[in-house]
Amino acid sequence: MSVNEKQLKRCLAQAVSRTLESMAFEQGELIEGSLEQYLADKEKNLNSLLSSQAVETADSSDKCDLDPNEEAYPPGDSSGEADGVSEIEMPLTAGIIEEELWTSISILKPLRGEMILIFPSLYAGKLTEAIYGGLSDTDSNEVTVNDAVAEVINIIAGCFIQELIPSNKRFELGLPNTGWGEVPPAEAKALELNFDIGGHILTAIVGGEDFQNYVRENDKIQEKVS
């Protein structure tokens, strides 16, 4: 990883963390390495936790002061717990593939490119609620969520560029766009970071030829940001 790539990563990670913390009191954990591996490890850890909880439940059930001749569950009880192992409730959302909400903003000066954030829809709703400090049913609509995530990317992009370039350089951003479902293809991708925010995965992408050249430590681009 080049020095500039590390710098880009540091600036983006800081911009995302600071913005979410200050706007919604959220803490994001930067996922190092591949997202697939991270999710596979997380699932493995969850399964092992669930198994150990099941064993503990079975053990504690064995230790109950019951009459050994008395059946734990009367005949005909179909609760499925007669074997002493409780059924572990899974979250209602487990296994559901969430629709994604994306938001993007053009970076116009001194480097040209774009930033894209991809939110799972459940997290986008939670984030909006956190920013608004609770929403009534009528407020918690798509328009409000779209507006909130657009403001989030506006602030993240501003913090990111401020971190990246010297304070005597001017910078310009475009207006944010937001949409649901398929994420528009990013311009030549220069960096992609994933964050785990309370179990939700937020993806941040910076793209564009200028940013790719920045990562490659191209001299002309270096001049623009120094």
């Binding site: 913005t19 706007m23 909006t128 507006d147 602030i155 401020q162 951003l173 207006l175």
Partner: protein, 125 residues
């Protein structure tokens, strides 16, 4: 002191955050007039007795920089203090905006403390 305040930002969320910060900073009795862009803000400023204009920079139709220039070029509105709240702030931008007549410039995300300090500096001017 600041009884009527125009809050200009194309984002409803940003306007809500700014108004909440102003209220926490002590302006709970102020009347807020919402504008979605510089054109709306300028109309509101012309047609109302306004004590403070809080504006974003990056807005459709008329951006905050043009709005600031219009305000400072108008003999009737020249004295209206303009507080810029934007994600596009670094020292170069702050210098430029203050040169154009902005009373204070704050970077997003803002906090009630920063707003409060900015209001104090505007009052003392």
């Amino acid at each position: 002191m600041f009884q009527t305040i125009i809050v200009a930002d194309d984002s409803v969320t940003a306007r809500m955050i700014i108004k909440r910060c102003l209220e926490i900073a002590g302006l709970c009795d102020a009347k807020f007039l919402d504008a979605r862009d510089g054109t709306e803000a300028l109309e509101l400023a012309k047609n109302n007795k306004v004590d403070l204009l809080v504006t974003d920079l990056n807005m459709p139709k008329m951006d905050g920089r043009s709005l600031l220039k219009h305000i400072k070029a108008s003999p009737r509105l020249f004295d209206l203090p303009v507080l810029v709240v934007s994600s596009l702030t670094n020292q170069a931008k702050i210098d430029e905006l203050k040169g154009l007549g902005a009373a204070a410039v704050l970077g997003k995300p803002i906090s009630p403390v920063e707003i409060s300090e900015a209001l104090k500096s505007i009052t003392n001017e």
